[in-house]
Symmetry: C2
Subunit: 138 residues, 2 copies
């Protein structure tokens, strides 16, 4: 590939009781625990309008994923037919960016508590976006 | 910051009539045109199960964005109160990852036609994910 590469610089990391990938839930709403998002002091201005009670889209870098995988058994189950990785939510993929819709339950300075996050302890945070309101309510 | 950096390697790029950031729609459903996603031959195995008629989440690297911006006027309008960038969808942000929900309308080998994409011509593609079915239908 002749394209340039781009550098992702983490803006914080996840603190979670989840440490074992094989034991972790596959999605946030499948029994994931609450977790802390711990932001770097450098991005305090960027997070200042986050609010408890709202939902956000959290983007992470799944740093324990394999990047050389292009097809997988969905949900890691070999009884499922193999699928191209871009038709799955497998963490193993060329650019292992995790996308998590989570609710903020508390904010303590640079620490933001969220519900139902399946990311492992120590996972780097790369972005946070608001959930978009429907067209006409923006 | 002492954290490591991570390298994003584009898996393709956007072909679009949109070339001017200031003139481009802010969201896909605000009058954006159809566009082609052109994937690298290397990831053909990964896209083989994409299907016309379905919706996908497209992740891009907004390569014309500023990365040193932590607060913005939402929608670029100085009449709006300044907000921390992680409470906005501004392209200018520390890790300028674009998130676009688009419908596939046609597939021609490594070229995938999608509706209503606000990304500019030449924008690198970094990931594609399926829209998740509601819990219980996975």
């Amino acid at each position: 590939m002749s394209e340039p590469e781009y550098q992702v610089r983490p803006i914080g990391w996840v603190e979670s009781p989840l440490v074992d990938r094989d034991a972790a839930p596959k999605q946030g709403d499948e029994g994931s625990p609450d977790a802390w998002l711990v932001f770097h002091p450098d991005v305090g201005e960027g997070i200042r309008d986050l609010e408890a009670g709202t939902e956000i889209l959290l983007l992470t870098w799944l740093d324990r994923a394999r990047r050389d995988v292009l097809s997988v058994f969905p949900r890691g189950d070999p009884r499922n037919p193999v699928r191209g990785v871009f038709s799955t939510r497998s963490p193993d993929r060329p650019n292992p960016i995790g996308l998590h819709r989570v609710q903020i339950v508390a904010i303590d300075g640079p620490r933001v508590r969220v519900r139902d996050l399946e990311a492992l302890d120590g996972t780097p945070i790369v972005d946070v976006k608001p959930v978009l309101e429907p067209l006409g309510e923006r």
